[in-house]
């Protein structure tokens, strides 16, 4: 306690001295610059709060009418003006987690190869290519999904899964192509560069002294990688959460391939809906105040979920970065 207050006191006096010195030296340029950047930094913070507040006030109508029921009922009927967000929440979470399940092992494999195994000449172009995936516009992914992925799923993959694994509830029903599986696959491709590039950086941040320690003990290459992975597990978890945050908020590509029906079905072949795609699809058609308000509340839910996930993720990555300071 004492220590903390002392620290605070110290930093305050230091800052004051700093400003005083600037003023005394007549260094107004520095002072103005410092104040200005401070203002911009605060502006970002303010913006987030403002967005949150705007969404809250915009969705007041819907919050008053449905209360918590909004989150747990599954009727989405704009005609009768009954709105329940459960199918959208379900669709968002399921498609994102599925995408993560596909993408995590792949992305981690890429990261391990890039940071631990690949020869120098291959590493740069390969890193560049994986990161390039992140730069492709979402709508292009969607278009590729409609013209390549969906037909492929409809003609080959889904009938195959149905034939061989049809006893599982996940692979029943008519193979439309459009549906949860298509959305999860396209999301998996989109978040792959996030997982692989952040994990690669995390793995690289593990000091070489760790690898040498393991090698010198007679570890095989695989055993060394296991130790490096153990060292970086919290960072990799953070990368995964960042990717999850991205998958949850992804709109365009998912909207184009998920089928857009407010439906909760265990089958991955069935169409679904996500919060982001409902908003994108129906915002222009929202004819009544309540409808609009319900859509804004949906946005608020999405906002809160992504903020929580991103904050948790950042926290983990930061903790990872700091950890090495004691060893280095």
């Amino acid at each position: 306690m004492f220590y903390k207050s002392q620290l605070k006191y110290k930093s305050k006096t230091k800052k004051k001295n700093y400003f005083n010195r600037l003023v005394e030296a007549g260094n107004w340029g520095d002072l103005i610059f410092e104040r200005l950047t401070q203002f911009f930094a605060l502006l970002v913070f303010l913006l987030v709060i403002l967005i949150g507040y705007e969404m809250y006030s915009g969705s007041r109508l819907s919050i008053q009418k449905f209360g918590w029921q909004f989150l747990v009922t599954s009727t989405w009927d704009p005609v009768k003006e009954i709105f329940g967000a459960l199918p959208a929440i379900y669709g968002t979470l399921v498609s994102s987690f599925l995408a993560l399940m596909i993408s995590l092992p792949l992305g981690l494999g890429v990261a391990i190869f890039l940071s631990e195994l690949s020869p120098g000449w291959l590493e740069k172009p390969l890193s560049f290519l994986t990161e390039l995936l992140a730069g492709i516009p979402s709508v292009v992914y969607g278009l590729w999904g409609i013209f390549v992925l969906v037909p492929w799923l409809r003609i080959s993959v889904e009938p195959f899964l149905n034939k061989h694994f049809g006893y599982l509830p996940f692979f029943r029903g008519a193979p439309y192509g459009f549906g949860m599986l298509a959305a999860a696959l396209i999301l998996a491709i989109m978040i792959l560069p996030i997982i692989s590039s952040i994990s690669r950086d995390i793995l690289r941040s593990v000091p070489d002294s760790q690898r040498e320690a393991a090698f010198a003990l007679g570890a095989t290459r695989w055993e060394v990688i296991k130790i490096v992975l153990a060292d970086s597990r919290s960072g990799i978890l953070g990368a995964t959460m960042l990717a999850l945050g991205r998958a949850i908020g992804e709109t365009m590509a998912v909207t184009m391939v998920i089928g857009n029906r407010a439906l909760i079905s265990p089958s991955l072949f069935d169409p679904g809906y996500t919060m982001a795609s409902i908003i994108a699809n129906e915002f222009t058609e929202a004819s009544s105040d309540l409808y609009l308000s319900a859509l804004i509340e949906l946005a608020l839910v999405l906002f809160v979920i992504t903020i929580i996930i991103n904050m948790a993720a950042r926290l983990m990555v930061w903790r990872m970065d700091r950890k090495w300071e004691t060893v280095k």
């Binding site: 090698f215 003990l217 153990a230």
Partner: protein
Amino acid sequence: MHNTINTINTINTIQPELTSKVIKEKVKKNIVVDVKNLAAYFGKTKVLKEINLPVPRNKILAIIGPSGCGKSTFLRCINRMHEVVGGTMTGEILFDGKHIMKYDPVQLRRKIGMVFQKPNPFPTMSIFNNVVAGLRLNGVRNKKKLSVIVEQSLKQVALWDEVKDSLQDSGINISGGQQQRLCIARAIAVQPEVILMDEPASALDPISTAKIEELLYELKKNYTIVIVTHNMQQAARVSDLTAFLYMGELIEFDKTSKIFTNPALKQTEDYISGRFG
């Protein structure tokens, strides 16, 4: 080396009928690592030039020389860590009479342990798990056996009394000196024949350094130690033999007492007395 030669002389005087073959056998047995014509490269740069250096068993060999003279590279050639960072080598290093390139590098490193300049315990492992990390890699799973070895190893490095109540704590929550002793314990837990030390005390305070040096005396009974050091006094204090390396060449190799009191070459004398390097 000289002891070995003395031994040979003694054998010769007592039993002159012994053939030179027997003598050679005897010498061979006493030399645990025999470096012959070793040259090491990073890409095309030659960092070590034709080094010949026998390392006798249960002795401490100190390698001294200015920065960049190839001391660390020499050390890393012996346990084949040089190739991990992409280096190559020519010539011969015999370990127990067999060329190190004929060993599986993993097996070789389990027999030739290494301690690094900066303490590098595994932060995600407890103190206990750090010590037995090498054993676990060897497939030892028996808990009783592991805890016996942990106690033995930590006692050997004089760390047991300091950490015996916190064996399950993380390996990085102890002081730097303790961490380095933990790393030495980790290296000796697998019972290697040789321990290579790359400036093991250079990142430590004087008290921890003294502790490590004391430790070296103890370890000498069971292990052969090759230690790279920048600290001339340290080399003089702890080692039996000293090799002086300069610009990748072995300038002089002799008993430590001889090197530090009456070196054969002026270059060695200049370096030791601090006139260059």
